[in-house]
């Protein structure tokens, strides 16, 4: 079923001769259109990221972007760097850590899903 559906969708995408022939005949055309829409809505479903992962992803956005007016200054200089530059460098490393945690959250969820099946 899934292979047929993918092939059909791929056929539609590339405008294959079979599809063009189907397009010309009325009732069959309607039927394939309905089916094709059902495939698109049904199979197009992807696994949504978990809330935990999304929240972990928001942390770098708050720290490196939205809070800019709190850390955009020269003093205090840390390790010889202006404070804003130091802050961003530190958060590159911390962002990577946040995403590592998000990866663990998603990986644990993936294992649980396959375990249930």
């Amino acid at each position: 079923m899934e292979t047929t559906a993918s092939q059909l969708a791929a056929g539609i995408a590339s405008g294959s001769p079979t599809m063009r022939k189907l397009n010309e005949s009325g009732p069959l055309y309607l039927l394939t259109r309905v089916w094709q829409q059902a495939i698109i809505v049904g199979l197009m479903r992807v696994r949504k990221p978990s809330l935990g992962a999304v929240l972990l992803g928001l942390i770098p956005f708050i720290a490196m972007c939205l809070s800019v007016s709190l850390w955009d200054r020269v003093e205090p200089m840390i390790l010889g760097l202006p404070f804003n530059l130091f802050w961003l460098i530190a958060w590159i490393v911390l962002s990577s850590l946040c995403m590592w945690a998000a990866y663990r959250v998603e990986a644990a969820r993936g294992r649980k899903d396959s375990g249930v099946q």
Binding site: G57, P60, M64, L81, N84
Partner: protein
């Protein structure tokens, strides 16, 4: 040998090695359309990493980032934030895009739009906007190559002939090989880039001030305002920073080549792991900023900030070293330029021209048309680079304002069942028209907000509104 001969020869040798690696990689492979563009679906983690890294470290981050550190000051920091946050965004969209790509055999961004929204016209529109956004990005690389050659020749070779030579070389390279070649060249390029960035980032502040700390202390003493926003500008303050970082981090993977690269990954998990590791790559950008900030004090008064990195390298090191830095810079321009030109040409032939104007074209004819487009796009960018000047960062931001308009269509397409083709089409048109109007009337930034971001907000709003007003599944009448 004269200094210019030494530095130019070094650059030439490095570029020749790069091209040779690329051509050898392409020799033993049959080149059909899929092979030429996607390189087969079997890139492993290492090659994938290099391919993605190759696209990130462009002339923009090398000459452009230091150029803005020199001419604008604080606002240049947006670059460190946006690249990192772009990877955070990628964690939440690329694995899902990859999943759909495998299921439907998608190769390009417009395949995604064709399959998801079931109309070739939306996909065609996406292609046109994508190609139009690529042109300033390509122009950026060519301008950068021109700067490298003219500075390395100690101003013996003018910018215009230098750019013309670069375009010829680039087009020949792309036509002779494909994406796998580019991936192999980026191995050499990445090693050289990291070496180049670290050595000059540490070396130049040390030579002139005795270290990075003393350099910043001197700059903070003489020009403290240069180090924070808005720096040396009047209107690039915190509002601009937030709106630009959001615009560019959301738009990063909307570039057709970056979006398409996701399809070449081995698994969705590879893409998630990339999102964890890639931000660390951004750290090398700091070294480039050190050079730009040092140049503020050491070589003041340059007409164009983008010249600052190479000018200070030339002032601080022997010619052969300038040659190595220039060679790394040249590869750094050529690798992404090859990817951009390849993606844009394929988009035009396969996803725009064939579906809309000539459905009967064979794959062979499409491949021929794509090759012709490589030449055409190379020439257009060359002409623009010669006659229209802008800073490297300015060029990239123009492109971003365009491609980020795809974001609502992609993210809603993945996660919102209720979104409709009409909604996405209306939103995208509104976004693109807004960008064009604001840019042409020189209203970027608009009251401190990045013009592309204003357009993106409007785009989101209209996409949601029209989707609600149109039926969920559009059945034919």
């Amino acid at each position: 040998m004269s200094p210019s001969a030494v530095s130019l020869t070094t650059i030439f040798v490095i570029v020749a090695i790069g091209v040779a690696i690329g051509l050898l990689a392409g020799v033993h492979r049959k080149m059909d359309l899929e092979q030429w563009t996607v390189g087969g679906r079997g890139f492993g983690a290492v090659l994938m990493f290099l391919l993605m890294a190759g696209e990130v470290y462009t002339t923009f981050s090398f000459l452009g980032a230091s150029g803005w550190a020199y001419s604008r000051g604080g606002p240049t920091l947006y670059i460190m934030a946006y690249v990192t946050l772009a990877y955070v965004v990628s964690f939440f969209i690329l694995p899902q895009i990859w999943e759909l790509g495998r299921k439907y055999g998608m190769q390009t961004q417009s395949d995604f739009f064709t399959v998801r929204y079931d109309t070739k016209y939306l996909a065609g529109f996406v292609c046109v906007v994508g190609i139009a956004s690529f042109i300033p990005y390509l122009q950026l690389q060519i301008t950068g190559l021109g700067i490298i050659v003219s500075i390395a020749s100690f101003d013996g070779i003018g910018r215009t002939p230098a750019m013309a030579i670069s375009v010829v070389l680039l087009v020949a390279f792309v036509l002779a090989s494909g994406v796998r070649a580019v991936a192999w060249v980026s191995v050499l390029k990445d090693v050289l880039m990291v070496f180049a960035a670290v050595s000059i980032g540490v070396g130049i502040p040390y030579i002139h001030f005795g270290g990075i700390g003393p350099m910043f202390a001197a700059l903070a003493h003489s020009r403290p305002a240069h180090l924070t926003m808005p720096g040396a500008t009047a209107n690039l303050g915190h509002t601009w920073y937030i709106s630009t970082v959001l615009l560019t981090s959301l738009g990063f993977y909307m570039w057709p080549h970056a979006f398409g690269a996701a399809f070449t990954a081995k698994s969705g998990d590879t893409l998630r792991r990339n999102a964890v590791v890639m931000p660390l790559y951004t750290l090398t950008l700091a070294f480039v900023f050190f050079v730009g900030f040092t140049a503020v004090l050491v070589v003041p008064g340059l007409p164009n900030g983008d010249l600052s990195l190479l000018t200070i390298v030339r002032k601080s090191f022997p010619p052969w070293f300038l040659g190595i830095i220039g060679g790394a810079g040249a590869l750094t321009a050529m690798v992404p330029a090859a990817i951009f030109i390849l993606t844009a040409a394929t988009l035009f032939a396969k996803n725009f021209y064939r579906p809309i104007f000539a459905p009967a074209m064979t794959d062979d004819q499409v491949a021929k048309l794509a090759r012709a487009m490589v030449v055409v796009l190379g020439l257009i960018s060359l002409v623009l680079a010669i006659y229209k000047s802008a800073t490297l960062v300015g060029l990239l931001l123009t492109g971003y304002a365009g491609v980020t308009q795809f974001f609502p269509g992609v993210v809603f397409g993945l996660y919102w069942k209720r979104v409709t083709m009409q909604g996405v089409f209306a939103g995208m048109i509104a976004g693109v028209v807004t960008v064009i109007l604001l840019m042409l009337s020189h209203r970027d930034p608009l009251y401190g907000w990045s013009a592309g971001f204003v357009a993106l907000c409007l785009n989101f709003l209209i996409t949601a509104l029209v989707s609600w007003l149109t039926p969920a599944i559009a059945l034919p009448e």
